[in-house]
Symmetry: C2
Subunit: 361 residues, 2 copies
C-alpha cells in the first residue's frame, strides 16, 4: 500500500507513447535510438527491446554501464566525453558498441591516446542551442577532429549529433517547428558537405517537443527522444501532449487541510517532485493535481509551492471539503525526467514494482 | 579520486558553524534541537552529539528511523503527521521519545485511536508563513486539539512549534528581523495564554536566516535550524552567511570549453545540484563557482543554466583560457539541503567518505 510519495507509471500509456514514436521513426525511416535518461529502468527498456529496438541513448557512463549490464549492446552516451571517466569508457568499449560525443580537439586527442578498444565517435554539433557541441559553422574544428579520428585505428567516425534543446523554450508549436527546421537544415548541410568522404555518416537528432512540432524529418538518420515515454506538465504546456498521454504521476498523501486558505498540503516536496517549476496559464506551478473530478485528467489544481517535503496545492473549497487525512492524490510532475531520477523504483498502476537505475549511487 | 560530480564537505567549517549556533542557543538559553534534514548523516550528527546535543529534528518518518537506529533517543518529526505512516510512528514511539506535529483535530483523533506508546505532541502553529500549522489566532482549534490530548494517557502536550519559512523571502535582514519578531510575539502570546494550564509547555522555533536576522529570542525554549551546518548561495544572498562559512560544494569535472561564448560546461546538472535557482545580483543562478582566483572564495562565476547532467557556467575569457578538460571546479549549490539530498555519501576535504541517509530509498 502506498503511504509515502511514490512514482506510479501506467504501462498501457507507456506502450502507446512508444508505439507512436516508433511510427514517426518508421514513417521517416529514422533509426530509433530512445534516450533512457528519462525512465532509467532495465525493465522499461525491455519494452523497447521487445518491439525490436536494439540501440539506446544514455546521459552518463554509469547509466551506460547499467544498461550494458542489462544486455544493451549499442549505446550512445549523449554528453561530451568526461576524460576523467576513461576507465569506465574503456570497460564499456571492450564489450559493446559504444558511441561517444566529442566537440573539442583536446578531447579527441585524449581519446586517441587513451582508448584501448574500438569506439564510435559522434561530433556533437551546436545548431544554436548553446549548450555543448561544435558551433555548426565551425568546420575548421570539425575537420581537425576528423583528422585525429582518421589517424586512429580504434576511433571510427559515426556522424554528426545535435540536441535542439532550445525547443523547450518555444513559445508556440509553430515557433518550435521553425527552430527545428533551422537545425535540421544546418545538419543536412553538414551531411552534404561530408558524405563524399564519409558515405555512411549518420545525422542524429531528436527530442520530444520536436517529434510533435516538426513535419519534416528528411535526411535525419537517427532519432533520440526520451521524455515521450512519460511526458509531463512541461510537454502539456508546450502543446506536445495531452493530459491523457502522461504515464507518470507521483502519488502523495494529504497531511494538511486548510479550507479558509483554499489550500491543502501534501507529503510531497522538492525531494519527491524536484524543484523544477513552470509558468502554466500565467501561474508558476511545481506540479499539477490530476483527475480532480475522477473522470477528466486535465481537471486539476496547481501545486503552487514546494519545500523539502511539503507541497502546497491551491484548490476549490468544494474539492477541499471532500478531502480526508490519508487520502492520496496524483501529482503530474513539471519535468518527469527530473522527478523519476529521485527514485530507485516505480510502482505500476497494477501494483507491480519496477526497479531502476539512480544517479549518484 | 573525484571523477564525477561529488559533494565535498569541509569539517572544519562544519564545526565552526555548529559552535556558532550553539553559542546563540546558550546565550538565549534555548534548547538546541538541530534539524538533520540538511546533512542527513549519522556521522555528522555525531559531531553534534560529541558537543552534548541529545535532541534532533528530522523531516520524515524514514529519516527518524535512520537516526533512531543511529542512537538518537529524542526526535521531532517536523512535518504534520502522515496518518498512513502510523506503523513507523508506533515503531519509533516504542523505543525513543518521539515528538510529532499536529495541526488538525482529525489527526489528533486518529493518533489517539492508533498510537500504542507514549508520544509527545507539538501543536504546529502558522504564524503567517502559510504552509502548515493552526493559524495562530485560531485558539478554538488549539483548544479542541488540547482537549483530545488531555483525554489520552499516551499523548502528552509538548508545546507550540512554528517554522518562520517566510524569512527565506525577506528582502533584507531588517525585514527578516521584523518577520521573525512578529512570529516570536505571536508564539509568546500563546505561551502566556496556555502556560497556566501547561506550565512546562515549550515554544519551538528556529531556522537559519532568523538565527542571523533576529536579535531577540526571549521566551523561545527550543531552536531548530538546519541549513547553517553547510550554508549555501541562498543564505549568502539573504546576507546570513559569508562565502567563507559555506561547508558544502559539489565538485564537478569540466567537459566543454567555449571561449567565444565566454562559457564552459561542467558535468554537473539538475540531478547533481537540484533545479533550485535564485536571483543573485540581478541574475538567475543555479549555482556559483567558488575560488575562481584560488584565494578568495567569493571570486567566482555563475552557473547560468542546468539540464539533467550538464551545467553551463558564464565566465571571463581569462579564466576560460586556463581551463583544461578533466579539471574540477567547486560549485556552491543554491540550496544545500536539496543538493545534499541527491547523494548517498559525502567526501571530506581530507578525502574521508561519510555515508548518509537518502530520501526515497
Amino acid at each position: 500500500m502506498i503511504n509515502i510519495p511514490s512514482p506510479i507509471i501506467d504501462l498501457e500509456i507507456v506502450e502507446k507513447n512508444i508505439d507512436k514514436m516508433m511510427e514517426l521513426c518508421q514513417k521517416w525511416q529514422m533509426n530509433f535510438r530512445p534516450h533512457f535518461k528519462t525512465h532509467q529502468s532495465a525493465k522499461l527498456a525491455k519494452i523497447f527491446k521487445d518491439k525490436g529496438i536494439e540501440k539506446c541513448t544514455v546521459s552518463s557512463v554509469s547509466m551506460a554501464l547499467y544498461f550494458a549490464a542489462n544486455g544493451w549492446k549499442d549505446i550512445t552516451i549523449a554528453i561530451p566525453v568526461n576524460v576523467l571517466e576513461i576507465e569506465g569508457i574503456n570497460i564499456l568499449a571492450s564489450s559493446i558498441k559504444l558511441n561517444l560525443l566529442i566537440d573539442h580537439l583536446d578531447t579527441i586527442k585524449f581519446l586517441k591516446e587513451n582508448i584501448n578498444h574500438q569506439v564510435s565517435v559522434f561530433i556533437e554539433v551546436d545548431t544554436d542551442y548553446g549548450r555543448s557541441g561544435v558551433f555548426y559553422k565551425n568546420t575548421k574544428t570539425i575537420d581537425d577532429i576528423l583528422h585525429i579520428i582518421q589517424d586512429s585505428s580504434l576511433l571510427e567516425f559515426e556522424g554528426f549529433l545535435s540536441h535542439t534543446g532550445h525547443n523547450y523554450g518555444a513559445k508556440s508549436p509553430e515557433i518550435g517547428a521553425e527552430i527545428f527546421e533551422q537545425a535540421r537544415k544546418r545538419m543536412w548541410k553538414l551531411k552534404q558537405d561530408y558524405r563524399q568522404t564519409y558515405p555512411n555518416l549518420s545525422i542524429s537528432l531528436g527530442d520530444t517537443p520536436s517529434s510533435s512540432f516538426a513535419d519534416n524529418f528528411k535526411s535525419i538518420d537517427e532519432w533520440r527522444p526520451g521524455n515521450f515515454i512519460f511526458f509531463d506538465m512541461m510537454q502539456v504546456n508546450l502543446g506536445v501532449c495531452e493530459f491523457e498521454d502522461i504515464a507518470l504521476i507521483i502519488r502523495c498523501p494529504i497531511i494538511g487541510i486548510y479550507p479558509k486558505r483554499e489550500e491543502f498540503v501534501i507529503y510531497g516536496g522538492g525531494v519527491h517532485l524536484s524543484k523544477e517549476s513552470l509558468e502554466f496559464k500565467g501561474q508558476k506551478i511545481c506540479g499539477w493535481l490530476k483527475y480532480a473530478d475522477n473522470t477528466n485528467p486535465s481537471a486539476g489544481f496547481p501545486v503552487i509551492s514546494l519545500s523539502q517535503e511539503h507541497g502546497i496545492i491551491s484548490a476549490s473549497k468544494a474539492y477541499i471539503s471532500k478531502l480526508k487525512f490519508g487520502d492520496l492524490v496524483d501529482i503530474i510532475p513539471v519535468h518527469s525526467c527530473m522527478s523519476a531520477d529521485l527514485y530507485s523504483s516505480y510502482t505500476t498502476t497494477k501494483g507491480e514494482m519496477i526497479m531502476k537505475f539512480r544517479s549518484n549511487n
